[in-house]
């Protein structure tokens, strides 16, 4: 077999498939201290870390599982392939790791010296944060986007068209 053939086999979708963790070989559980654990191919891990490969566009697909030393244990292709209980545990863990408060209303945006000072509502909670240069600190996803403040905190607008008209009008000039 030539080296080219070997390379083709190594990177073919079929070989990548073999790296994925199947629902049959993986069972999640929650430890007494509240950490997510997993039993993968018969091996028990008392704490695993889940990370999204495509956190903005496919948040429920291509989930990497690693141990506390960040050594990859495998990849989950689709969360939806797993049982409801497992899905719930995975979503809870991912929810914590990728926690982004959801902006439901923008009360005001003040621009001063290149910084944008936001007053927003996160449901019932009023909060203010500062974004430096919106065009560089915005991450678009399907219908909305994440705003990253000066500390690195992310605030999410799930659906831009669904927030109040006044909020849209305030933010629209900076969204290009």
């Amino acid at each position: 077999m030539s080296s080219n053939d070997t390379l083709r086999q190594t990177i073919s979708p079929e070989t990548l498939k073999a790296e994925y963790i199947s629902p049959a070989s993986c069972e999640f559980f929650k430890t007494e201290k509240g950490f997510l654990g997993a039993e993968i191919n018969g091996q028990k891990f008392n704490r695993v870390i889940l990370t999204r490969a495509l956190p903005l566009t496919f948040s429920d697909d291509y989930i990497c599982i690693s141990d506390v030393e960040r050594k990859e244990l495998g990849i989950i292709e689709h969360i939806s392939d797993f049982s409801e209980d497992n899905q719930k545990l995975m979503n809870e863990e991912l929810g914590h790791r990728y926690f982004s408060p959801v902006i439901t209303e923008i009360l005001s945006i003040k621009e001063k010296f290149g910084n944008f000072y936001f007053d927003v509502m996160l449901g019932d909670l009023k909060r203010n944060f500062t974004v430096k240069d919106i065009s560089k600190n915005i991450r678009y996803h399907e219908k909305g986007f994440d705003l990253i403040d000066v500390d690195g905190n992310r605030y999410r607008i799930i659906d831009f068209d669904a927030i109040p008209k006044k909020s849209r009008r305030l933010l629209e000039p900076y969204l290009y």
């Binding site: 910084n115 203010n128 629209e172 290009y176």
Partner: protein
């Protein structure tokens, strides 16, 4: 982490190492005694990752966590602190013996404080990323208390990111929220740059006012006098007298116009002589300040576009003062002059016209806001297209290698289309709105004409036809200044923004400073001693942990370790490009922080893996550290660095221009010039940070030999991935996770069969494989040659 001292605060409880008395009372009610607290921190989330106020502290008995809500009234105008009120909804006490240590973990947008007991982790509380530094320090304080019984924290609490007047969040590089920021302070500082030119500035302002006054007079003559005194011929003058009067009027108008042109010329000439001088002062001031700043300032995220600050921000200021400010003066003088004349001519008609003026101003402001948004959108599209173009030009080799020209063209077309559509929309809106504005002005003029016309028609002498017409001309004259005044605030904001960024650099304090009575380092021996060194680039993410090392004068220490282990950081800390967080580095027994900075830099030669060569000739670059070096020294240094041979092959040899736009050199060639540059410096301590990584094995071996000669009699610290290059080191340190994993001589480490041995074996086997591959390739070639010969 950047720390700044605050002058005053409305929130003393956030600055000092104690809670607010009201909170202490509340905690006391809940059974928590804060009187003996050792260290505390305020958080913003609870254990369920919900936003709540949280307070953590520890004393000799335990660790305590309370969550609840802090209510603060708005800060009063005089910034006096207001009494906050607290409610608690959960309180937790953990006996001190149940926690061995505290650790923080950071996630995408939050962090979590963990308690560790017998290697088992227990999550305690969440916090937002802005609190990571505070919680990291809290954990450090707790751990030091557990280990030593004392809270040994020499870090000030992180005060960045909050307004010093009201505590509201603001960017880390600012200490005021928008409510408390004022442009006036910036304006005063900006005007100080003009301090040396006060007579000229006064003259310019007077000339501008005179020029405006002259222009305001024109309608008086060209309209009012023309109609009322000449064309209507009220005194029944004969024709030749009328022509004479007309001639005088025309000459007066031409005279005023000429005077105005002369005054404008004088003003522009004077501005042209002063403004470049002021701009020179500003640019020199920024550049001077930038040279003082530490490396950390340049690598921090806020300083990505420093060049813009020198060039673009200075240019923004320049245009405001060259174009904007003169127009403000001229237009203000015009508005005042015109209004005085209008009121003097007919106060009733003036009042009538002025009543409609707010509608006009309001429309202009509204239109301006709309256009500003559209201009911003167009600007973003243009800048995105510019970035794409730059990306495309820089990546041409890759584009061609992957045959992606068509895809790139499509991408460019798509973005160009967006720019075109935005431009078209802007132009169409402008083309629609400006005539509408004209119509509004026309309506206003018509209303004034109707009202004024009835006054003229009444013939009671309250208004003449000439006065009415000049009134209409004055209204026209007011349109542009009012429009300008409506949006000049935006221009000033941009200028103030630029000025603030400029002053930010001028005011920035270098993190690496020399002590007042710094000790000179004249006769260097070369002993280097590192004690319990700790360092972190970002809070709570240590890069170097409790690292201790000793290098005797004249010895060679080899440092090895995986990528990201902290090797380069050690080199940077010895050179004092950064200061240690904790612990010390001593040269000849003196802490580097006590030594003169220039002496440290003179005595330590650093050949970094990031090579930077300046624009200039090769000879200039080699003699960078010693500008008076003779050509003999330059050639000797180049020979020692094995650079001489390839330099001599270049058409302009040592005079070859390198750096941006100059001769392109390979990585290895650049490294050799960099080594020659350090050789000519003749430092007492030599730090080689992957100095030969980009070279082929033969050149590397030659340079190694050369450096070996060079390192005789001087302390050498060599960092390398290729372990074979460190065979001659007196001792070796294997760094892992920011601390020393193994230490000893080359043979000791090989015998130990630890990490060093493992890495050495891997590298040796890889080299053997390459050698076998090369041998088999050679034998194949020989076989082929033989078969060809046989054929």
């Amino acid at each position: 982490m950047k720390k700044r001292k605050r002058k005053d605060s409305a929130f003393p409880e956030k600055r000092k190492n104690e809670f607010h008395p009201s909170l202490c009372a509340k905690l006391h009610e809940a059974g928590l005694d804060t009187r003996n607290l050792k260290y505390n921190v305020s958080g913003d989330m609870d254990s369920e990752q919900c936003f709540r106020d949280a307070w953590l502290f520890f004393d000799e008995k335990g660790l305590y966590i309370a969550t609840g809500e802090e209510k603060l009234e708005k800060v009063k105008k005089n910034h006096t602190p207001v009494e906050p009120s607290y409610t608690l909804d959960s309180v937790r006490s953990i006996p001190l013996e149940d926690v061995d240590s505290l650790e923080t973990e950071s996630y995408l947008s939050t962090g979590r404080l963990m308690a560790v007991k017998d290697g088992e982790y227990e999550p305690l509380i969440w916090f937002s990323l802005g609190k990571l530094g505070d919680f990291g320090t809290f954990a450090k304080a707790f751990n030091s208390f557990k280990n030593t019984g004392e809270v040994e924290i020499n870090e000030a609490p992180d005060e960045s990111g909050t307004c010093r007047k009201c505590g509201a969040p603001c960017p880390p590089d600012r200490d005021l929220c928008p409510r408390h920021m004022k442009n006036s302070g910036t304006a005063i500082r900006l005007f100080r740059f003009f301090g040396g030119h006060i007579p000229q500035i006064t003259a310019i302002v007077l000339v501008m006012v005179a020029s405006s006054a002259a222009m305001v007079l024109v309608p008086q003559i060209s309209t009012r006098s023309l109609y009322d005194n000449v064309l209507s011929n009220p005194d029944g003058l004969p024709q030749n007298e009328l022509i004479k009067a007309l001639g005088t009027l025309v000459l007066s108008i031409v005279g005023i116009r000429v005077l105005n042109i002369i005054l404008t010329m004088i003003q522009q000439y004077m501005s042209a002589t002063i403004m470049p001088k002021v701009m020179y002062d500003i640019k020199v001031k920024i550049f001077e300040a930038m040279q003082r700043l530490s490396v950390n300032f340049y690598s921090s995220k806020q300083t990505g576009s420093l060049m813009n600050r020198v060039m673009r921000d200075a240019t923004n200021i320049y245009w405001f003062f060259t174009d904007g400010l003169p127009r403000i003066i001229i237009d203000s003088a015009t508005i005042i002059g015109v209004l005085i004349l209008m009121i003097k001519m007919n106060w009733k008609l003036s009042l009538f016209a002025l009543l409609a003026a707010p509608v006009l101003v309001f429309t202009i402001i509204l239109g301006d806001r709309m256009f500003r948004r559209m201009h911003h959108k167009v600007w973003i599209f243009h800048s995105r297209l510019g970035s794409m173009l730059s990306d495309n030009i820089n990546g041409q080799r890759v584009i061609k290698a992957f045959a992606k020209e068509d895809d790139e063209f499509d991408r460019f077309s798509e973005m160009s289309r967006e720019v075109r559509n935005a431009d078209v929309k802007l132009s169409v809106t402008e083309a629609t709105l400006f005539p509408l504005l004209e119509i509004l002005v026309l309506l206003l003029s018509t209303a004034v004409l109707c009202y004024g016309g009835t006054m003229v028609a009444r013939g009671d002498g309250s208004m003449t036809a000439g006065t009415l017409l000049s009134f209409i001309v004055y209204l026209e004259m007011l349109k542009e200044p009012f429009g300008f005044m409506a949006w000049v605030t935006n221009w000033w904001s941009r200028c103030a923004d630029s000025a603030t960024r400029v002053f930010e650099i001028c005011d920035a304090q270098p993190e690496i400073t020399e002590k007042e009575n710094a000790i000179p380092l004249d006769n260097l021996r070369g002993d280097v001693e590192i004690n319990e060194l700790e360092f972190e680039y970002e809070p709570a993410r240590p890069v170097i942990r409790k690292l201790s090392l000793k290098v005797k004068a004249g010895d060679m220490l080899g440092i090895v370790g995986k990528t990201g282990a902290g090797k380069t950081t050690i080199a940077n800390l010895i050179s004092r490009l950064y200061d240690a967080k904790e612990g010390s580095i001593k040269i000849d027994g003196t802490d580097v922080r006590d030594l003169k900075l220039a002496d440290i830099r003179r005595n330590i030669g650093l050949v970094s893996q990031d090579i930077y060569l300046f624009i200039g000739s090769i000879a200039d670059n080699i003699r960078y550290a010693k500008p008076d070096a003779s050509m003999d020294e330059v050639i000797a240094a180049a020979k020692a660095a094995y650079a001489h041979d390839y330099i001599m092959k270049l058409p302009d040899a040592y005079e070859t221009r390198i750096g941006a736009g100059g001769q392109r050199l390979s990585g290895g060639e650049k490294q050799r010039i960099s080594i020659a540059r350090t050789i000519i410096q003749n430092p007492g301590i030599l730090i080689l940070d992957e100095a030969t990584a980009a070279m082929d094995t033969e050149t590397e071996r030659n340079i190694q030999n050369s450096l070996q000669k060079l390192s005789k009699g001087r302390t050498t610290i060599a960092i390398a991935h290729r372990l074979s290059t460190l065979r001659d080191a007196d001792y070796l340190a294997v760094i892992d996770g920011g601390t020393i994993a193994e230490y000893g001589t080359f043979s000791e480490l090989i015998e130990k069969k630890g990490e060093f041995y493992k890495q050495y074996k891997i590298q040796s086997e890889a080299l053997k494989t390459i050698a076998i591959g090369a041998d088999s390739a050679q034998s194949n070639n020989e076989e082929e040659e033989q078969s060809n010969e046989q054929q």
